[in-house]
């Protein structure tokens, strides 16, 4: 009689064509079988305030846990990226308590000790791998927590990069670790302290500050529209066959050409 008791939760027990029953926090609704969980919740009549953000898998607002009758296992997904399954029992987890600590990236050392100073609970990891199993982005969450302990910040940065900070790992961790916060701290530390800065970028910033390109831009702004268009439509495109660029001068059109004679370039 399990099937019947499940149906008793629904106002409309008939199964319409191409529709599947789902249970939104225990209450049964029929929804088109092609919908994502998020669209199914809306189809049922909810107007979401929590639990919807980018609707495209980038923001982590719609972490969702569910079970299906065939198994005791907890399943997870982003509601905007997961298609409904018949008889699924779903609950959105749009928020899970986690407290971001404050810190000054510049003053911190890029070490495991420094990270543990901010988030000491990382040391409590029991390597159960539950965080990895629950990650809707399929990241190796436990691995990056372990690499944090070992001080391999480069590996942490790489392994955690695709994290959308949905917090499902936080909800399941027996050691009460706040993984996404650890990850963003490590990525910032790593990139600020350990990754070499772009020299090319630093050089260009200095050039701009010194006004190296001001005269050219002023000249471009002063050009009549027809000349500007001519310059635009004849500009060589880097990488095209036959295009060999030796510098960054605007000198490709003999009719419309910047006069570099008075500049230091």
């Amino acid at each position: 009689m399990a099937e019947q008791s499940r149906k008793s939760g629904s106002i409309n027990p008939e199964k319409p064509k191409d529709m599947v029953p789902i249970y939104i926090m225990g209450k049964r609704y029929f929804v088109p079988k092609t919908l994502t969980i998020m669209k199914a919740i809306e189809y049922a009549g909810y107007q979401l305030k929590r639990g919807a953000g980018c609707r495209a898998g980038f923001c982590g607002a719609c972490g969702t846990v569910y079970r299906t009758p065939d198994s005791y296992k907890i399943k997870v997904g982003l509601a905007c990226q997961t298609v409904v399954e018949p008889e699924m029992y779903i609950a959105q987890l749009p928020f899970y308590p986690a407290v971001k600590k404050t810190y000054n990236i510049e003053e911190m050392e890029p070490t495991a000790e420094a990270v543990l100073g901010i988030y000491p609970e990382v040391a409590r990891c029991v390597a159960c791998n539950t965080c990895t199993k629950v990650c809707p982005q399929e990241l190796e969450v436990m691995d990056y927590i372990q690499e944090t302990l070992h001080g391999n910040l480069d590996k942490v940065a790489d392994l955690s990069f695709d994290c959308v900070m949905c917090g499902l790992c936080v909800s399941r961790c027996p050691a009460e670790i706040q993984h996404p916060f650890v990850a963003i701290l490590v990525r910032r530390l790593y990139n600020h302290h350990l990754v070499p800065r772009s020299q090319q970028l630093a050089k260009r910033v200095k050039e701009v500050e010194e006004g190296k390109y001001d005269a050219e831009i002023k000249w471009l702004k002063s050009l009549p529209l027809e000349k500007l268009k001519k310059l635009y439509s004849t500009r060589p495109r880097e990488g095209d066959p036959g295009v060999e660029l030796k510098d960054n001068k605007i000198d490709w059109n003999d009719e419309v050409k910047f006069d570099y004679s008075g500049t230091n370039r």
Binding site: F58, Y103, S233
Partner: protein, 572 residues
Amino acid sequence: MELREHPLYSPEMIESIKKVEATRPRRAEEARRGYRFEKMSLEEADKLLHQFHPDYIMEQKRELRVGPSKGELLNHEVADIFEAHSRLAKKLDEFSEFIKEPEITTDVLVIGGGGAGNAAALMASEHGADVVIATKLRLGDANTMMAQGGIQAAVTPVDSPAIHYLDVMGGGHFKNDPDLVEALVKDAPFVIQWLERLGVMFDKDPDGTMWVQHGGGTSRMRMHSCRDYSGAGIMRVLRDEVRNRPDKIREIEFSPAVELILNERGECIGAVLFNIETEEYHVVYAKAVVLATGGFGRLHIQGFPTTNHYGATGDGLVLGYRAGVPIRYLGAVQYHPTGAIFPEQIVGLLITEKVRGSGADVLNVDGEKFVFPLEPRDVEAAAIIRECAPVEKGGRGKGVRTPTGNYGVWLDAPLIDLLYGEGTIERKLPAMVRMYRRFGIDMTKEPILVYPTLHYQNGGLRIKPDGSTNVPGLYAGGEVTGGVHGTNRLMGNSLLDVVVYGRRSGTSAALYAKEQFRDFGKPTLQHIYEYEKELAEIGVPEDKISPVILPNYVPEHVRKKQLTSYYQGNLY
């Protein structure tokens, strides 16, 4: 899995995929030899746009009848939000009393929690201001978080801010505000450096040199990226840094601003916030206000699906406009050439331009190229619409039909691995690969089907290069503003825009608060009274209300039974 057994594809799609596979070796050979499909001339592009770009369909537009930019030609959906009542309209006298007692008083109020808002908050606090940042959903729920491809800055030896300037102007059809463009391209290298120092994880060589590649309409490779999570890579860091300063920056989530407050001198001195969970209104006084509310994709202009986040309903446009800030180029809407059109669950979602930038061909039903893959976005989108449009409507009828009756063209992603080695797609486009895998498609092996999708608000509120508007004390930055991109933004210039103009508006607001602000004076909603008078003259129905705040996706059959509840927005 063999394609013919694939549960998703229709037989005609499988036929077409076979043609794509058949032409792939030849196309790979052509790519290796440097051959590419010829770029369009300005004249050809112009003709194509007039025939096939949605902006040029005049029945879809009307002249705006109220406010400082009366007469502006806008899509109906956009005109609707301007020709709508204030949420405060029915109780305007009560609200006029209510706003006399502020709940919060601060130096700078930033409205909007995306890339521009967070950058503004950081810069305002750097300049000594106390900041409140109010946002509709969560901090970081914004289009910035979703940007995939990258951020432009001219840093290589063969590139310069002047060449960047030229690309931006051409991409925007030379309608851009030259002063805004100048600030954009000159700040660009500096803001990349600022982000680098904040700890953003850019794609780099071991020696620190940034990877750069092309985007549509660029003449030099200047697209900087963080895999295909470029926006998220930046947004997560900005948000983290904002939250590192709780003593200086106070965040208020789930509380969009619904109206600005002016004083008797016409200066902006705060806003009315609306807590969407408890439905309370809160009055915030600020010496200066920054509008950073983003764009309007969720208005679903001309019925298009959108890549935009849930809250992108153009609220700041309405607030600023009612306060007297003119708009420009708001009739120009960007349709991203490549939105997913199959499978059904992801229709409208963004397929980053980086896929084409990395070498994927754009192909019709016969597996043949029909357009240079990196035209400026409006041109690329129009070319895809033309390829799919039926012959009797002037199109070419070469689209691929999906099982649900949509049409699209192929983006041949597997070509990337063929050209640059196996694993390239996984490495450069992990978000894309992951999304398709979730829906049963392996884009490293199979082409993906795309069609233009509503992506970006090219125009917006008129600002000056310092982020100021014509209303003293009111600043704006990012997608809510118009002018910097002319009538068509290039890829990678929106992330740049939000950081450059977020920073500029935040800095200017803090300086204004410190140096020019006199006192709050007499807070008033007089501008709303006057706007309502204009609305009365054209006869706007009572239930047309804006800002919209959130779209309503509850289906009709449910709504008609929700007899005593109503949704206060004009998308009803």
